[in-house]
Chain length 501, copies 2
């Protein structure tokens, strides 16, 4: 077959597989945002069918034949061109996906759904023993999944690779080995800060109005985004012009602000994808870590800093009069405080990555079989004392707190901390190339920052590997923890020198 014909047929095939996967995403959004509870069983069937069709379309031998026939174009065209990238990225995806037998995929999907249900109940009653059999089955399936691959240094590598393509366990470990002692020390040194004014009566309608007002300034095109409430916030998109943010409003705090900014960061990534990548596997982001670096950028590097709040704080005070007596310094101090706690999703910036490192280490031990699954609660609790100095009262606030393991999602956690680290590597470049970024943010103008990030990162979607992207944007393919640690040191130091608590 002619290479151009092959490429054109390949694109059509990938577009259709992508359409089906996108339909599944819409159904997933609906399930989490709007679906009446009674719709669950029918929804599970539909999602199962769509996932089978998408897999069969993508992983078929025909995809491989078209890839082979189109291969000469990869060398002829520039590396950065859409077409060369499509062939390169698709081959990698295809070679990974076809190694996994459909029966194993189906079994993993089923056990994940089952494990999720069991976990919900087990967490309610803080009963790890009730969760243990489901965890055991999911771990067994992970072992069978790992066996589908060859040439890895650590059995954890293939799991990590699902979320962070090309990343090795040893590389993550090297980064985390630097972070752990430094963070532990920082957390211990952080001063007590008065944040009592962040708990109170904050009507949800007002939070919603504030979130809408902020979102409207972030650079989304009109009619390209919506924001809905849900229980566990997430972001998904069905094209660069159909971006769905979700957030969680609680009437006793203002956390919805940062939850919204976090998801908006993911959303801006999807929104910034070039139109030429639509309906192709190149839409998206190179890895969860890179995607997370951008949610963290908007949540923290923008949304917890003085420039952003120089513009927004009086507007926030207008909506929530109890903040009228709290000056900007005290507000900034409170939203940047460092306080060890039990729950990852409630953790502040300084303690957050310690929660992740604990999970990363445990996951490797689980996969390597060096920890017995029944001992997990005990090991968890001991490490929480070591890492963060906190005592875990029960498993619901300990080993059962996260959804990930219930659905077999091992290898996912480290990407959260890598996102934190990467966000600072990129932010260093932002500072170098946009020296006036703080002034713009203080004037309520995010467009210089948004334009820069879109131009350097978002528009490229998945064309480059995480390392290629990091090299392009930050000048090195390596994940380097120093800028992140320097940022946190400054933060903790700032807590001392800001207005006294």
């Amino acid at each position: 077959m002619d290479k151009h014909t092959a490429l054109s047929e390949l694109k059509q095939r990938l577009a259709e597989a992508g359409d089906v996967a996108k339909a599944a995403s819409v159904l997933g959004w609906d399930q989490r945002v709007t679906m009446p509870a009674g719709g669950g069983p029918a929804r599970a069937e539909v999602l199962g069918t769509l996932s089978r069709i998408a897999h069969e379309t993508f992983a078929s031998p025909e995809t491989g034949r078209l890839l082979d026939a189109a291969a000469p174009l990869e060398d002829e065209l520039p590396f950065e061109s859409d077409d060369a990238s499509l062939i390169r990225v698709t081959r990698r995806d295809w070679e990974k996906e076809r190694r996994v037998p459909p029966e194993l995929s189906a079994e993993m999907t089923r056990e994940a759904a089952r494990g999720h249900q069991v976990w919900i109940e087990a967490r309610k009653s803080s009963d790890f023993a009730a969760f243990l059999p489901a965890l055991r089955r999911n771990v067994e399936l992970k072992h069978r999944y790992i066996e589908c691959f060859e040439d890895f240094d650590s059995p954890y590598d293939p799991l990590l690779d699902d979320y962070e393509p090309g990343m090795k366990t040893a590389e993550v470990k090297a980064v985390f080995d630097v972070l752990r002692p430094a963070l532990t020390e920082l957390v211990a040194a952080a001063p007590d800060v008065d944040a009592s004014f962040l708990e109170g009566d904050f009507p949800i309608d007002d939070q919603r109005a504030f979130a809408d007002e902020v979102i409207a300034t972030l650079g989304f095109a009109p009619g390209a985004v919506r924001l809905d409430p849900t229980v566990h916030p997430f972001c998904t998109s069905f094209s660069n012009r159909d971006v769905r943010l979700t957030t969680r409003y609680q009437d006793h705090d203002l956390e919805s602000i940062w939850s919204t900014l976090h998801e908006a960061g993911h959303g801006l990534y999807a929104h910034g994808n070039d139109d030429s990548l639509l309906r192709s596997p190149l839409a998206g982001a190179p890895s969860l870590g890179l995607n997370e670096s951008q949610s963290r950028t908007w949540e923290n590097l923008v949304g917890r800093q003085r420039p952003f709040w120089t513009y927004w704080y009086s507007r926030l005070q207008d909506r929530f009069p109890t903040l009228g007596s709290v000056d900007l310094d005290r507000f900034l101090q409170a939203i940047n405080r460092a306080e060890p706690g039990l729950i990852r999703v409630d953790a502040d910036e300084t303690t957050y990555s310690l929660h992740i490192i604990l999970r990363f280490e445990l996951e490797q031990e689980i996969i390597e079989g060096t920890v017995a699954l029944e001992d997990l609660p005990e090991v968890w609790n001991a490490r929480m004392r070591d890492f963060l100095g906190v005592d875990v009262p029960d498993d619901a606030h300990g080993v059962l707190q996260d959804v990930h393991w219930s659905g077999g999602g091992m290898g996912y956690f480290p990407t959260y901390a890598l996102g934190n680290v990467i966000s600072l590597q990129i932010w260093q470049k932002v500072r170098e190339e946009l020296p006036d970024v703080d002034d713009a943010l203080a004037a309520g103008d995010v467009s210089p920052l948004g334009d820069w990030l879109r131009d350097r990162i978002y528009r490229h979607g998945r064309k480059f590997t995480p390392k290629e992207m990091l090299e392009r944007v930050a000048g090195t393919p390596r994940i380097e923890p120093e800028p992140y640690l320097a940022y946190l040191r400054d933060k903790v130091e700032g807590l001392r020198t800001l207005a006294p608590a």
Copy 2:
């Protein structure tokens, strides 16, 4: 192949085709209720892919082979059994669908989408000439569609059959020939009624609260239904426990009440389907007419009558104090008034079917070629004068008012009027078998009515043809206009004898 194996494989195949079609429905709901406008192009691609996959799965020769192999079971099992019904109904669906070449289906889908866009603009500027080429293409495609079929009496039959399986044009004509003169006479005889208090200031939040309050009493299981606002209300469902109602709130009238009850009627039908029909082509209703008979039942035969409002009117007055000075008699008179108007969707019960008969006659003439498409506005306007005595000021309020023709939806209109007629045939039986239904409704209890309708109609889904269903529930397979006309005569007579306007 063994007949039992064949049936089991057939069910699996149909379930998967149905899953894909259901995914498309979810995407359609999302498109009309939640999707940001920018999502349109990507959504069209995804829907195109899903519709192709659903068609290929269902209409494939393999479905035919499985049907043949399972055929002996159709005779062995009781006619009413799920399995015999599945084979019977699927064979009919399959034989119809496989006659239409996929290229023609695809072209119809494309031209429908195009026609829809053209129509939106043409209606805005009331410019029929701008719409004419799109209409012409859609009519040409209808002719090609009709050519896929044989053995029809009228070329309109295959179009009608898409929405009203087994119904012949001549049968509809016979019903409408009785209705037309009787309705024209009734409308002319209807007294003027004061309904000025139905226009005013009705805050949308209060309308929403009232709609939610009513919906909660209609017999939906908890967590099985939701109600959302949209521009053109509709109902769809993704299982009998995931029913999506939509309605339209306008702050200057109370039409949302009847719009909500109308869609709730469709929703109760879907909700009442037996669990055994889930994930099979038997879920649903035998025809649009039968489905519409139930939306009309809840909107009109329940929602515009004294028993229902005996319970609800004081509650409505509590929410909308301007109604405090309007007694129940005057309210009933106003919501049952008969007033000729230009717009079908705003028409009252008495004039509504005349709008339909006009369209039904025009559609036949269009298909038979006895009216030139460019003459449609003139013909339309002349008939509106004849049928309803009204003068059409422009095409936006005339021939361009409805969406249906823009998308090639010919044959659909008559089902609205058939629904009206059928609703009264069924209601006669309700009155015979539930003599206390009015007392229950006056006490706010719809359960005797809801249970009866579910038992007689809703639970059977599509197991029976429209005629079989009508015979089961109303004692005759024929659509008989007399009960409907008697009901409207009583209504118009009641307008005179109720409190004077």
